[in-house]
């Protein structure tokens, strides 16, 4: 079977003062190959923990993770990551960054160069390939990060707020790029974001997580990502369902935040 199934993952760890944190409780999710899932939630709801477990950087205390029929136990090239920022290798040029994965695998140079060139065309950075990454703008750097991830041809792409540090205009352009890449490559993507709009625009599926303990609160299936593949994202935002959905999710997250604040007062 293809796809990613997350089977009742829990994660609990001890603190030095004897307390413990239940970061995730019984999270289950099935993701078919080629689905784009966006994950929303207030801070501390465990969404980054979930992503780190899927990436293989953290081990869950119980539950398991099955990708394409085998169990995930550690990081692997089949699951690529795109980080918020600062994960590029600044000692390498744009070309070398994009070619990092193939180089590590020992891909023949000609084949690697072809992949790199193709991806640089896709993200529109062909003219910058010999530049140092720190000479690029934030948006361009994230394009490099996307291309670097795609160069390895992973089955799943995990994005940890990849557009969080970009300005509004660049962010909109990058959202279109992500949708375009998703449609063209057919990758399974898990995207973590703080922006409700972004989650709605990009997520074919969307889960809202709740904190203490971290769990899945509500799940949606949305039409906007499919619309956005061909249409301008600003047009998609005018869709009659878009506004109400955004309000609904915002209210949900607001309620959770208020609960956290209230909880803190009780504790004090």
């Amino acid at each position: 079977m293809t796809g990613l199934s997350i089977n009742s993952l829990s994660m609990r760890f001890d603190l030095p003062n004897g307390d413990h944190v239940q970061a995730l409780q019984d999270v289950s999710l099935d993701l078919k190959a080629g689905e784009l899932l966006s994950v929303l939630g207030p801070s501390g709801c465990g969404k980054t923990t979930l992503l780190n477990i899927v990436a293989g950087f953290l081990a869950p205390t119980s539950g398991e993770l099955i990708l394409n029929g085998h169990k995930v136990t550690g990081p692997d090239a089949e699951r690529g990551m795109v980080f918020q920022q600062g994960a590029l290798f600044e000692w390498m040029s744009v070309r070398e960054n994009v070619g990092f994965g193939p180089s590590m695998k020992g891909t023949p140079k000609a084949e690697k160069d072809e992949t790199v060139n193709h991806l640089l065309d896709v993200v529109g950075l062909q003219d910058f390939k010999e530049k140092a990454v720190y000479e690029l703008s934030g948006g361009m750097q994230q394009r490099v990060a996307l291309a670097r991830c795609l160069a390895n041809d992973p089955d799943v792409i995990l994005m940890d707020e990849p557009l969080g540090a970009l300005d509004a205009l660049t962010r909109e352009k990058m959202q279109s790029l992500v949708l375009k890449l998703w449609k063209e490559t057919g990758k399974t993507i898990i995207l973590i974001t703080h922006s409700v709009e972004e989650a709605l625009l990009l997520g074919e599926r969307l889960i809202v997580m709740a904190p203490r303990p971290g769990r899945i609160h509500t799940e949606y299936r949305l039409p906007f990502a499919d619309l956005g593949v061909d249409a301008d994202l600003r047009e998609v935002k005018k869709h009659p369902d878009f506004g109400p959905k955004r309000e609904e999710i915002l209210n949900m997250i607001w309620d959770m935040e208020e609960e956290i604040m209230g909880g803190k007062e009780d504790a004090a």
Binding site: P75, G80, M81, F89, E90, M104, Y134
Partner: protein
Amino acid sequence: MIPLLMYVAIFVAAFFIVTKVVQGAGLKDYTSLKTVTFGDESAVRPNRAAGIISILTIFLMWGIFTGSSLLPGFLHAPGPYEGTTTFTYTAEADGQTDDATVTVVVHPREQATEAPEVDPGDGFAKNDSAAIAQWRTGLIRVDRNDELGRDAGATVVAINGEPIAPGETVSVDGGSVTLSDRGTPNFEPTKGWQMEPLYLPAPEAVWTRSLEIAGAGFRNFTLIEHLGYSLFRVVVGFLFGALVGIPLGYAMGLSDWFRGWFDPIVEFMRPVPPLALIPLVIIWAGIGEAGKIILLFLAALWIMAIAARSGVSGVKISKVHAAYSLGASKWQIMRHVIIPNSLPEIFTGARVAMGVCWGTVVAAELVAAEQGAGMMIMTASKFQNTDIVIMGIILIGVIGFGIDMLMRWAERLLVPWKGKG
């Protein structure tokens, strides 16, 4: 006190002249348009004119107070008295008094001069003469040729007609005369404001001596050899230190066992000044090359280990995670992520270590060495060759500065991504 006041005066005068005269002639760049400069560190740039005047002032002051031949004579501070002067003394014995003249020749130290022949004159007190070097004083045994000497009860009661008693001083032309406790006049020539070459030789004297030593050598080794030995020790000691320290630092940054094991050692050794190790190293390894290199190895080792360790800790975890997700093995992560990421830190450590090593080698050579920059100035100071000492200090400073410049240049060339992560 006077040199300090002069220095402050030049500082203030140059400030007013430069700011009034050159005002507005500078570059019209962005910073020049800032109105808030007090408190904005980025707007404070070294004033080039101040830098040039500062260096010139040092040489000017040096020249003024050493009577340098590089400066026109009118700029010199008053020098020590040189020439022939006379004063008279009045001796009293058995109720009678008699005057006699003392002729004193004050001569430069390096030029030996005999006391001149003088006519003894009349009376029981006879005329005397003496030769005294500049900056020195001389007891003048005026009674040794007198008919009635100290043994006969004669005493000096006046100089140039001014009454004087033991312990008192009378000014005379070209100096002053003090009567010693036993009644002998002691002539002290006027010293002026210049420094005695023994304490501070003139700039040109240092320069001539440098050329002389560069050609003829000092203590069986030429100048280049002395400096070369010091540099060689620094480079070899540093290389060994880096060769051991960097892998040790990496191990401490990558393995909790290594970190636990070596942390106490490194943290204890780091604050021990390498100079404090000199005695122990001499006991263990003697004063030869081995001892010096062990000392410099120890000086560089901890610095490099700590630099490499913090270089590893400085790797952003997202970079390591990204590399793992791109399929890199542990070794590939070491080679392609951790090492390049830690190079800027290692270069900073190397610069510090080279500076410490250079200071340590000079100190170690001061203590004991057959050759080297430190040995050269220490030996020279024992023989009061102040010019060699000053030359050595200047050369040590220039080389230390050169090493730092070289390291910065290498850093810019090899780790252009420093601070860009």
